[in-house]
Structure formats: C-alpha cells, structure tokens
C-alpha cells in the first residue's frame, strides 16, 4: 500500500528528465581513469594543482579516460565540468584537461569565468605545442605537466583566492523558510485560541499541532526537487559548482 502510494506520488510529481550524464567519479584534481600516470606523477600533479587552487581559487582538473564513448571531446569535457561543478560558483574559474587514450584526443575545456584569459586559441596552442608532441611519444606526464604550467601562466592574474566562503544562498533560503514556518504556527495558535475561546476549549489545539510540520516537510521536499535536480548534479569530490559554456579547444595526436 505504502509502495503504491509512493509510486502514485512519483507519477503525479513527474519524473525529472536528465540530459546525457557522464558516469565518471572524480578523484580530486587528478582523475586518472586511463592509468596514464605513475603514482608518483599523479602525486606531483595533484600537489601542484592543489597549491595552485589554494593561491588563486582556480580549480584546474586533469582527467584521463579510456574512451569518449562516442561523444565529442568538447561535449564530454564541457558536460563533465558542468556536472562536477569544477571552479567556484561565482567565478566559474575551472579548467578541465581531458585526455582520451582510446580516441587519441586531448581537450582543454575552459570555465566561463576564465574564457577571457585563456581563449580558445590559447587552449588550442597549448594542446598543439605541449600535449600533442609529447603524447605522440607516449610521454603523457611530460605533456600534461607542461600544459598545466602553460595554462597557469595564461590564467595568471585572473582571480585571487578569497577566504570568505559563499554560503549566502542557502542561508537566506533557510531564513525565509523559518519565517514562513513561524507565520504558519502563529496562524494556528491564533485559530486554536479563537476556537477555544468560542467553544470553551477542548483537544483541538493539540490535534492541529501536526499540521504545520506535515506541511513544512512537504513544502521543503517539493521546493528542493524543483530546483536542485537536473541542472547541477552533485559531485563526489568537493568542487565549487562552477560552470562551463563550451569554451576551449583540443586536438588529436
């Protein structure tokens, strides 16, 4: 019975429709799904990217995959950045360096906020100049490492790290919710007082007590399902929710 009810609710609410989703878990700044780097190399890259993020707040991410699964390199990288939310929310200052071993393709996707500093042309040059020649000789770490350095110098001066974290959005939502909740409780208190005065008071006040809570949870879940899903999927690793608009360039080797 309960299952049937839940099913009915799902049907009535409508199941959210997703775009194409990439099934790849993030392992932080370096996600080496194609195993192109040794442990040591991975650690060097990770430390470099972490340190860079600490000083500039720019999130640069290296991703290697065995195959693009039939997608465009640009599409894959942009969607991945969007899905993971690489970069901080207000600055959109993420960069994804995507290397697909099977397709022999490298692509650098630039977050919206860095497009002015790292133009498509710059990205293209970096791929052609540093990645392609090294990758042809199988030197994946060499190519990636120099490309990261070139990207860092291209993005220099774009953003500085700021200590204050941005949690304002969620907080103001909470205040609004509490405000409404208080209004509702007040309403019920007044109503139950009035009824008690008129009818000489019996158990009604307690009976209505459950009202706002039931309503509260229902309202909460409906609002979260309408805004949270679909657009910004949560990432496994703590990226900042930056967005990608399709900027960047790539090449094959």
């Amino acid at each position: 019975m309960r299952y049937a009810l839940r099913l009915l609710c799902l049907l009535l609410l409508g199941i959210p429709v997703y775009g194409q989703k990439i099934n790849l878990k993030s392992a932080g700044p370096v996600t080496d799904a194609a195993n192109l780097f040794s442990n040591n190399e991975r650690e060097i890259l990770r430390q470099k990217l972490n340190a860079y993020e600490d000083s500039t707040s720019n999130q640069f991410v290296v991703v290697t995959i065995p195959s693009l699964e039939g997608m465009d390199a640009n599409q894959y990288a942009t969607e991945l950045g969007h899905q993971w939310g690489v970069g901080t929310k207000n600055k959109d200052n993420g960069v994804i360096i995507l290397i697909s071993k099977g397709d022999r393709k490298a692509y650098i996707a630039i977050g919206r906020g860095l497009e002015a500093n790292i133009t498509d042309f710059t990205a293209k040059q970096i791929v052609r100049q540093y990645m392609v020649p090294a990758f042809r000789q199988g030197q994946y770490f060499q190519g990636t490492n120099t490309a990261v350095d070139a990207l860092i110098s291209a993005a220099s001066g774009a953003y500085k790290s700021d200590a204050s974290s941005s949690g304002d959005d969620d907080f103001s939502g909470l205040i609004f919710f509490l405000f409404i909740l208080i209004l509702i409780i007040l309403f019920f208190v007044v109503v139950s007082k009035a009824s008690r005065r008129n009818r000489g008071g019996d158990g009604f006040g307690g009976g209505y007590g459950g009202g706002p809570i039931i309503f509260g949870s229902g309202w909460d879940s409906s609002s979260s399902s309408s805004s949270g899903w679909g657009s910004s999927g949560s990432s496994d690793f703590g990226f900042g929710g930056g967005d990608f608009g399709g900027g960047g360039a790539g090449d094959s080797w």
């Binding site: 959210p16 498509d120 042309f121 209505y208 309503f215 608009g245 399709g246 900027g247």
Partner: protein
C-alpha cells in the same frame, strides 16, 4: 460546526500555499528558460560578430571565391535580422524561422571553411588560424547552450503539461515552449574540418 469551518479554512489555506509553491516553482523554471535562451542568443551573436572578421581575412587571399563570401554575408544579415524574444518561445513558427536563419549561416560558414582548404597560403596565416579556432569554439558554445536550453525547456514543459498545473498554467499565462529541433539541413551540411 465551528470546528468544521476551521478545518475548511485550514484546508483552503494549505491548498493555497501549496498552490503558491507550485506557481513559484513554475516561475523559477520560466526564468531559467529565459536565462538559457539569453545564453543561446549570445552564443549566436558571438558567431555573427565573428563573420565580418572572417570575411575580411578571407577576402585578403588572392581571388577567393566570391560566391561563397556573398552567401555568408547574406546569411549573416538574415540571421541577425531575425531575433526571437523570450516571450515568443512558445510560437513554433517563429522558432522555426529563427532556426532556419541560423542554420543557413551555419551552412554558409561550413562551405566557406571548406573552400578555404583550397588556399594553402590563407590557411597558413596566423589571422586565419586564430579565426578558425574561434569559430570552432563558437560552434561548441552554440551547441552547449542549445542543449542546456533544451534541457530546461523539457523540465518546464513537463511541469506545464502535467497534472495539476496543467489546469491552471494556461490561465496564468504559462504555455509550453519550443525546444530546438535537430534540423534536417544540418545533417547534410558540409562538415567543418579543423
């Protein structure tokens, strides 16, 4: 009697508030659609802005095919003259017009890049290579924004068309919006090779 009246008030109030949250959800999605549409337009604008540069660079090459150039210039003029406002997104005809105009510019540009392959000196110039990568990036941005727009529109349309909002949405001025269709002409358009 009194208790029944209170119960009725409570039910109406709850229903009203629930209705408000539904309505607000729709307003939110509607404004998301508008944002997504604005992004689509700016991506197309970016491409239109690129065309004059591209044309003047290509013109510099010795005896470049005039016909291809004129086609691109005309297609650009047409594409920029047809603007689609966010309020008109529920009009299938206007949407189709907009898409057709942009598609003919895509085709023109595709042909231009293909013809440019025959001019090695042109392809070697830095200006051309730069424009080529800019054009490529612009097409990528258009694709991205189109996909995002379609996703949001799909979400919006599901809301507008499903129970219970379907009963009120029309009354409140919300109607289903048009997504981008994969255009038939794009499938046999010359592919741009970079």
């Amino acid at each position: 009697m009194k208790g029944g009246a209170i119960l009725a008030i409570v039910v109406v109030a709850l229903f009203g508030m629930w209705g408000c949250s539904q309505y607000n959800g729709l307003v939110t999605t509607d404004s998301e659609v508008q944002t997504a549409w604005a992004n689509v337009q700016s991506a197309y604008q970016r491409r239109a802005d690129l065309v004059p540069n591209l044309v003047s660079t290509v013109k510099g090459a010795a005896n470049f095919e005039q016909q291809t150039l004129t086609q691109v210039v005309e297609a650009r003029a047409k594409a920029t003259s047809i603007q689609l406002k966010a309020e008109d997104l529920n009009d299938p005809q206007k949407m189709q017009q907009f898409q057709q105009a942009q598609a003919s510019l895509s085709q023109g540009l595709g042909r231009l890049m293909m013809v440019a392959e025959n001019y090695p000196q042109l392809r070697a110039t830095e200006a051309f290579v730069g424009l080529q990568s800019q054009l490529e990036g612009t097409e990528n941005r258009i694709n991205t924004e189109r996909n995002r727009y379609n996703e949001v529109v799909q979400r919006y349309n599901v809301k507008v068309r499903s129970f219970p909002l379907v009963m009120f949405a029309g009354m409140m001025g919300f109607s289903a919006k048009q997504p981008f269709q994969a255009d038939a002409s794009a499938q046999n358009a010359p592919k741009v090779q970079f």
